[in-house]
Symmetry: C2
Subunit: 195 residues, 2 copies
DNA sequence: GACTTTCCAGCACGACCGTGCTATTTTTCA
DNA sequence: TGAAAAATAGCACGGTCGTGCTGGAAAGTC
């Protein structure tokens, strides 16, 4: 790997960490350059515009999310076990310092048209699809009813996770985690095959 | 009411509408002044700092939320009916152009200490408490089990709403609304008193 | 209608923004 | 090791940021 590509990745690591706090719009070349111990212009040369930098941040963040949330879950046996593992890692992801960049980006670009909006939506859609696919494995494993609407499950699981993020990280409710699992178990039970 | 106070309110109306798109950090005095047909300094004089303007925006947004979501719900008979009405108006609130300022503010200030963070958390907590109180009326009305954990219900209802916001507004899934009600009904059923 | 208070525009400020151009240093490869 | 290519710093630009001051216009009060 070329030196330049290495530096670029190092910059992106710093940028994503900063963006978790300030959002992608709040990210500035100057402060990023200072944090990365580089000159503004030297850093800027790696991305031809600020928007390109922001897009690269989103993509890097997606990679990290796949690595830290989906990949460990996919290592577990298919079915409810995998779904549980996904929940665990997802909750840990939300608990990282600075919070989740996706949630920040969604709030920032939900109604602002442009490439950043489009990429954000595409990444989010892909995530929901992956979540639904894992729910499908639980149906195939015979753990959930055959007529289960996996997208219904995906939407509800995502809601449970979003609510966890708010209650735990933002409002610091101590029982948030426990209530999250209560909600999840109730959701699974209601779709579980009655033997 | 003095002229100044009238202008101040007019400014805040514009500011809140703008902040729904750009967030409270993205709000700038210059663009706000242009949108309000005022000079920068003339507008600025009404708030002694940008932070004060942002705080005023949050408070105004809270008033609007109470007026448009909680007040109509409280006009309904206590119990599940009221909870349903709350859901309806809350969903309509999320569907407003620009989205919900609370969600934007939560993403912006979740890990940035300061008065804006503190006010955001306080408002959000109050909202959850009000939501739990409405759930309590359903218990008192004999519609939900006596041993229902109303904060569990509040957390789950909020999750259902958050998920609706994402699926509907951000990802434009056409079935989001229907699935939202499916989730809500199952939640209520699981806590309903068995007669 | 005079007087006082309030409101608001004009203007200026230092700081930082994103973005380019130009050298110069560093890396890469023959 | 020397030539070609890539990476980075220095510097400058027009623009906008938040914030103050100051004077005149408008509103409120008697």
């Amino acid at each position: 790997m070329r030196k330049g590509e290495l530096t670029r990745q190092a910059i992106l690591d710093v940028a994503v960490r900063m963006a978790r706090y300030s959002g992608l719009s709040g990210l500035t070349i100057g402060s990023l350059a200072a944090a990365a111990d580089m000159s503004k212009s030297g850093l800027y040369a790696h991305f031809k515009s600020k928007e390109a930098l922001q897009l690269a941040c989103m993509e890097r963040n997606s990679e990290q999310f796949r690595d830290e949330v989906f990949r460990p879950a996919l290592a577990k046996p298919r079915g409810v076990t995998r779904l549980q593992a996904l929940m665990e890692h997802w909750m840990a992801w939300y608990s990282r310092p600075g919070g989740c960049l996706f949630l920040a980006a969604a709030a920032e670009f939900d109604d602002l048209p442009g490439p950043l909006h489009d990429l954000m939506v595409a990444e989010q859609r892909q995530m929901i699809d992956s979540l639904a696919r894992i729910a499908t494995t639980a149906v195939e494993a015979g753990e959930l009813d055959e007529d289960t609407d996996v997208f219904q499950v995906a939407q509800e699981v995502f809601g449970i996770l979003l609510s966890y993020n708010w209650m735990s990280r933002i409002l610091s409710y101590p029982d948030a985690s426990e209530r999250t699992w209560t909600a999840f178990n109730r959701l699974i039970d209601s779709h579980a095959t009655s033997l």
